[in-house]
């Protein structure tokens, strides 16, 4: 089943095409890699899908509903979570507060009910506390829950950003270079975390540079170069493509 589809996605910056006529689909339960050289337009694609940028042309369809041009908070509410390359979390708050805020970003009861502490609000409040604890436990950050985000190491910080994205209960999670700056051991930790998240029924689209990681993790790979899609398929398939070898790997063969 197709969960997310982009059609003819195009973005011009001052007359220059950052993304041009890109089409792809993401199916339920997949782990898909989005790769390409620097400046290929990978992060721009993420920004277009999540509403941080408005496409010049093209459509974004999520669960058979067009979401092109929605605002970022609306896209988040539809069920698309994301992380940024530079992790964006609430630095001054503890991990626990981060997650509570994340689970609370939008409740069904309004703020007047929150002020009056109505029973429906209290019920949601309890539910979000439980959810926050569950996510921290799932991610493996429960022991650090009283630490402020700005004081935890980079590896934990990356995990926190993923935890925060999970707080909105996304159906698709977009991860922008989740392994950058991590050592091999830590990268393996994130990899097994991604598998675990996928095992919970969350579909994953990730941007990555490290070919070994992509090879091991992604069932399907989309290759961008100069804003255009130049290949799509399994790692084996794309690594045979002359375009990919030339553009992405500088003429050397991949294995």
């Amino acid at each position: 089943m197709t969960l997310l589809r982009v059609e003819g996605l195009t973005k011009y910056f001052h007359g220059l095409a950052a993304v041009q006529e890109v089409n792809f689909s993401i199916h339920l339960g997949e782990i898909v890699g989005l790769i390409g050289p620097n400046g290929a337009g990978k992060t721009t694609v993420f920004n277009l899908i999540t509403g941080f940028l408005k496409p010049t042309q093209g459509k974004i369809i999520f669960r058979n509903e067009e979401i092109t041009g929605l605002f970022p908070h609306q896209v988040a509410r539809k069920g698309i979570g994301r992380t940024f390359q530079a992790t964006r979390v609430f630095e001054e708050e503890t991990l626990w507060q981060n997650l509570i805020t994340g689970c609370h970003g939008w409740l069904n009861s309004g703020w007047i009910q929150g002020f009056l502490k109505t029973s429906s609000f209290m019920k949601e409040e309890r539910a979000s506390r439980q959810k926050a604890a569950e996510i921290l436990d799932f991610i493996g950050l429960l022991p650090l829950k009283e630490e402020r985000a700005k004081n935890i190491p980079q590896y934990a910080h990356k995990k926190l950003a993923i935890a925060l994205a999970l707080a909105t209960e996304p159906q698709v999670l977009l991860l922008d270079e989740p392994f950058s700056g991590l050592n091999t051991h830590e990268a393996e930790g994130i990899m097994s975390l991604i598998h675990k998240i996928c095992g919970q029924g969350v579909t994953i689209l990730l941007i990555e540079h490290n070919m070994k990681v992509v090879k091991n993790l992604c069932e399907r790979i989309i290759v961008l170069n100069f804003g255009q899609k130049i290949a799509e398929g399994s790692f084996h398939e794309i690594s045979q493509e002359p375009h990919v070898i030339e553009a992405y790997l500088g003429g050397e063969s991949v294995s």
Binding site: F52, H73, V89, E91, T101, G102, W106
Partner: protein, 287 residues
């Protein structure tokens, strides 16, 4: 010694009003990064609204203050929606110019509507209270209590409630807040409403002590900017403490040296603090 306590109390009273104005300003700056020069004019308009409610409609003073806060909160929402939201995402200087224009429009609008004359609230609660050799009017005492109460309510609201949590979230990291589904426009309206209500409260509470006139907003506006720079831009505890510090310095300086130099002491303190700690007392270091 009694002159010390007298001036200390006077300083705290003045400082708590400064803190109230600065709180609104720092809240708006912290969330929307708008230097809201119109804030002092909301303070002035709030005082006028209270004045007319008391003088023309014979409303109880505190009821008038409450109503004025609600009306100014509404005006704050309109100002955010009509003037500041369209320039969001544009260059910072645009919001700066919009704010400056609003200041001029509102101040001159007040002159046009109500004339430049000074207006005086009818005396209310002007009996003296004396203790420990200090004497203050009951009205000043009540004003300080009301201010402290408002600061406490705001603190509770921002720290403990759900809306407060989303406000803090946007203040800390706008992108992260968007990712968890927070609507930044709603937070913008909320912050402008809160800030404007606080400014209206400050203007209304100070009205009976000083006088109401179209230019009454300028001095507190400048002081409030000094305070939020002193306390750290966007910091709530910084605004409260900064306001009190400024008030006390002014009070003591006026008592021991000369009232004519009180602004010199206040801004001198700001310069000294900034030279030692450039991000302000509670400011976060820029990354």
């Amino acid at each position: 010694m009694s002159i010390f306590f007298q001036q200390l109390i006077n300083g705290i009273i003045l400082g708590s009003v400064y803190a109230l104005v600065a709180l609104g300003l720092t809240l708006i700056y912290g969330i929307l990064h708008v230097p809201n020069f119109a804030h002092g004019m909301i303070y002035m308009l709030g005082a006028y609204v209270s004045y007319f409610l008391v003088v023309e409609y014979h409303l109880n003073f505190f009821a008038a203050v409450g109503l004025s806060m609600i009306i100014m909160a509404g005006l704050g929402v309109v100002i955010e929606r009509v003037f500041f939201r369209p320039v969001q995402g544009a260059s910072r200087i645009n919001a700066f110019i919009v704010a400056l224009s609003l200041l001029i429009i509102l101040e001159n609008g007040a002159v046009l509507l109500w004339g430049a004359e000074f207006r005086k609230f009818p005396p209310l609660l002007d009996q003296q209270v004396s203790f420990w050799g200090i004497s203050i009017t009951l009205q000043r005492l009540l004003m300080t209590v009301a201010t402290a109460l408002l600061i406490l309510v705001l603190h509770f609201f921002v720290q403990k409630t759900l809306v407060g949590r989303t406000i803090r979230a946007v203040g800390q990291d706008r992108e992260a807040a968007l990712l968890i589904g927070v609507n930044p426009n709603r937070v913008g309206s909320m912050v402008f409403a809160l800030g404007s209500a606080l400014a209206a409260a400050a203007g209304s509470l100070i009205g009976p002590i000083f006088l109401v006139h179209p230019h009454m907003g300028m001095a507190p506006l400048l002081k409030a900017f000094a305070i939020i720079i002193l306390g750290g831009m966007g910091s709530i505890p910084g605004a409260i403490l900064g306001g009190l510090i400024l008030g006390v310095i002014e009070g003591l300086g006026a008592g021991y040296i000369s009232a004519a130099y009180k602004d010199l002491f206040a801004f001198g303190a700001m310069v000294v603090v900034l030279s030692v700690k450039p991000s302000g007392l509670f400011g976060r270091e820029e990354k």
